[in-house]
């Protein structure tokens, strides 16, 4: 009698990625090692080499998982094509959310080459298609899509790699003595204060809207190499 699923017959690749993401969230990227992953699923490190080519291969799958879990693919298009700004806004917020959902998510995806490229290409392709419908030229649609994605990318990397509270403290102390005009100094401090009140999502959205406004008037502009 063959009992199906007797005792989890073999090591599932999905379980490996799941364990890796759990370690990532709990302890950060530098603790995602093959030995830690293996230990988490009750196996020895070399066992992973049966299912994955190497660590890079695992990283690729982690990146895919991070970008795939948020349903960025087949993002529901707007009823009215003229609402593409809102559609793009929502999609880019979703992309950011996917990246910040995991600790060091930006760095993980940045570390993946093939997996990142593939996932980002799909998103880019979606934006490309919709912007063309909205009246963008071929090249402009492609450029617009990558511009928006690059912005998200940079924002998240900065957001996650940015100085923690303790580093901010040290920074401020160094600047107190260094920075030239103390009047403007306090003005910038006040702005930083505002930043915190707004929250990252709002700051992110401000820049995103700037880009979208710019895109509206760049729909069919000439591109000069």
């Amino acid at each position: 009698m063959k009992s199906k699923k007797a005792k989890t017959p073999h090591l599932q690749p999905d379980a490996v990625i799941k364990a890796a993401l759990e370690i990532l969230d709990a302890e950060g990227l530098e603790n995602v090692t093959l030995r830690r992953i293996a230990a988490k699923i009750g196996v020895q490190a070399p066992a992973l080499y049966w299912h994955f080519k190497n660590k890079q291969d695992i990283t690729e799958d982690m990146a895919q998982a991070i970008l795939t879990n948020a349903k960025l693919d087949n993002f529901p298009p707007p009823a009215n094509i003229d609402d593409w700004p809102k559609w793009l806004t929502d999609l880019m917020h979703q992309l950011r959310n996917a990246l910040i959902a995991h600790k060091d998510g930006g760095r993980v995806v940045a570390g993946a080459s093939f997996g990142r490229a593939q996932a980002l290409e799909r998103i880019l392709f979606q934006i490309f298609k919709l912007l063309k419908q909205a009246g963008f030229g071929d090249l402009q649609a492609g450029l617009a899509a990558s511009t928006a994605i690059d912005y998200v990318w940079g924002f998240v990397i900065e957001e996650q790699a940015g100085p923690g509270p303790e580093e901010l403290m040290a920074l401020q102390q160094k600047f107190r003595t260094e920075r030239i005009p103390s009047e403007e100094n306090t003005v910038l401090d006040a702005v930083m204060e505002q930043y915190h009140k707004l929250g990252n999502a709002a700051v992110f959205d401000w820049g995103l809207q700037v880009i979208i406004i710019g895109l509206k008037s760049a729909k069919n502009t000439q591109v000069n190499g």
Copy 2:
């Protein structure tokens, strides 16, 4: 008789950073190890710990060097304040140039926390000041500066970490079978072709101009948290 500079009296911190950057350019970030750096300047690895707290400390200095060597500080302001768009354009191009001047430059600077934050803060402060002169509100000037910087950041990371020629090949092959509508497929391919003809600098500039156009109309808009 004290001969000055007899035989390079002691190990100079600058020489360490210089050696590190040389290894970086020649062999990439993963080969920048303490032992390799030490070997390059004819010393043993533990010797570095006399001059630097740890490897992170060296990374911070590398980031500083990368961002400082390009003269991003005290970037000459425009004769006419209304020319702030060109000024900002030039500054951002210079920032990109500084980052891509070294192999993996983006990742090095991303890996630095204190050093990056300090250098970027200075650039941000400069932009902040000039945009205020150009009539931006306090908060808008700050948001505008960080938006522009984030874009540069994302573009360069993508530019440097992006798939190399061999990965692009594999990507295309995978997409040939996967991607849904082959008509649109070829359109996107044509766009990618255009990208190459334009070159990275032109693609970068297109997105940058989009942002600047958006900034012009966001000078004094309300910010909603």
